[in-house]
């Protein structure tokens, strides 16, 4: 028996069963939460607009991302912008996952969740803060939203605020469209925007 064989047998003698690592990962997430070092917790959920990544800080939900945004890239940007202490930890996302599930089932019209707005600032944040004023099943124009946010001339800025909403679906930028009926830009793509508007008009 040569040393390579023995090294291989050593790997087999001390196995790393997937179930063990899953269990240990749960334990790690719980300990990180308890010790206050879970800066960004995340999980993914399935939805009619594809898999959604949900991420939360201790302050609240900080990011909702569509698959088209590349979830790995989004997690990297959260590590860069907030903290690299990013861990898959579904526990913290329990309420957002439940409320989004109810929303997609047509059972919920608005969200009651703590939100962390840190990924949005200035006029963009002012725009996003006014979006919940547009009721479920309704739409508003970018011009109307610019006016709501206190700067009627900033229509283009309002449009780009909506297009860069870090909390899509929960903060309803999908309800903002062009006054001529064109659907406008959306982080999840125009089809996702249409799906959400259809869902809300049917419920």
């Amino acid at each position: 028996m040569n040393t390579d064989d023995l090294a291989r047998d050593l790997m087999r003698a001390f196995p790393d069963r997937a179930g063990d690592l899953t269990r240990l990962h749960h334990r790690l997430a719980a300990a990180a939460e308890r010790d206050g070092v879970l800066d960004v917790a995340y999980r993914a959920i399935d939805s009619p607009v594809g898999p959604l990544l949900l991420a939360a800080t201790e302050a609240g939900l900080v990011r909702v991302a569509f698959a088209s945004e590349d979830h790995d890239a989004v997690l990297q940007s959260l590590a860069d912008r907030i903290s690299p202490r990013v861990l898959r930890a579904p526990g913290r996302l329990e309420a957002p996952a439940r409320e989004l599930g109810e929303y997609f089932d047509g059972q919920r019209r608005d969200f009651d969740l703590p939100l962390d707005w840190r990924l949005s600032a200035g006029f963009r944040r002012a725009v996003l803060n006014r979006l919940p004023d547009i009721g479920y099943g309704h739409t508003a124009s970018y011009a109307a939203v610019a006016q709501l946010a206190g700067n009627p001339k900033a229509v283009r800025a309002a449009a780009s605020a909506c297009a860069s909403n870090p909390l899509p679906v929960v903060v309803p930028c999908h309800r903002v469209i062009y006054s001529d009926g064109r659907i406008g830009r959306y982080r999840g793509g125009p089809d996702a925007k249409r799906t959400l508007l259809t869902l809300e008009s049917a419920a």
Binding site: M1, T3, D5, L6, A7, D9, L10, M11, R12, A13, F14, P15, D16, D20, L21, L24, H25, R27, L28, A31, A32, D35, V37, L38, V40, Y42, L75, Q76, L78, A79, D80, S83, P84, R85, V86, L87, R88
Partner: protein, 180 residues
């Protein structure tokens, strides 16, 4: 600008290796504790880890310290007994190669550590030496001595198994890994 990876990627990439190392050093329950404590400590310190650090060596260094702590705590808890306790209760987790795991458990700490860090974690002897103390040559010797001892114990076990399984068929070879 892209900075440090999300910590989740570190757990995904290195979690299995750190678990093997912990299991080579400690009993199953203690290995789980050491793994958890290693990753919680690593998560706390992660933002301050230099961008060019060798993450695997860093994690194994933390695991080494945690394993030493766990072993010391267990020694403090231990009550002298007339008869040795049931070894199975505190032996490393049983893989297919329980005999080899037993043999590793029987090695002196330095040899066990050198083998775990070099053969299971894949660290070069210079890194192993940085973790356990002493020179790279000393780490290499500890691993070589450990491997020699394992080979003796392991082949002894294989031979015993072969004779146990021998039911008149004398073609039973001594191929490693067939003594299950």
């Amino acid at each position: 600008m892209t900075g440090k990876q999300p910590f989740e990627a570190v757990v995904e990439r290195h979690g299995a290796t750190v678990l093997r190392v912990c299991r080579a050093l400690l009993s199953p329950a203690d290995a789980d504790d050491a793994w958890s404590e290693t990753f919680v400590s690593a998560l706390k310190a992660y933002p301050d880890l230099p961008a060019d650090a060798n993450v695997e060596a860093w994690l194994v260094t933390i695991a080494h310290r945690k394993a030493v702590d766990v072993t010391r705590a267990a020694a403090r808890r231990a009550v002298p007994v007339a008869e040795p306790p049931d070894a199975a209760a505190d032996a490393p987790v049983r893989g297919l190669d329980g005999d080899l795991a037993d043999a590793v458990a029987g090695l002196p700490a330095k040899q066990r550590q050198a083998i775990a860090y070099h053969y299971l974690a894949g660290l070069p002897y210079a890194d192993v030496a940085a973790i356990v103390g002493g020179s790279a040559d000393a780490a290499r010797r500890a691993a070589a001595d450990g491997i020699a001892a394992l080979r003796r114990a392991y082949q002894g076990a294989a031979a015993r198994n072969d004779s146990r399984n021998d039911s008149g068929n004398d073609s039973g070879g001594d191929t490693p890994g067939e003594h299950r």
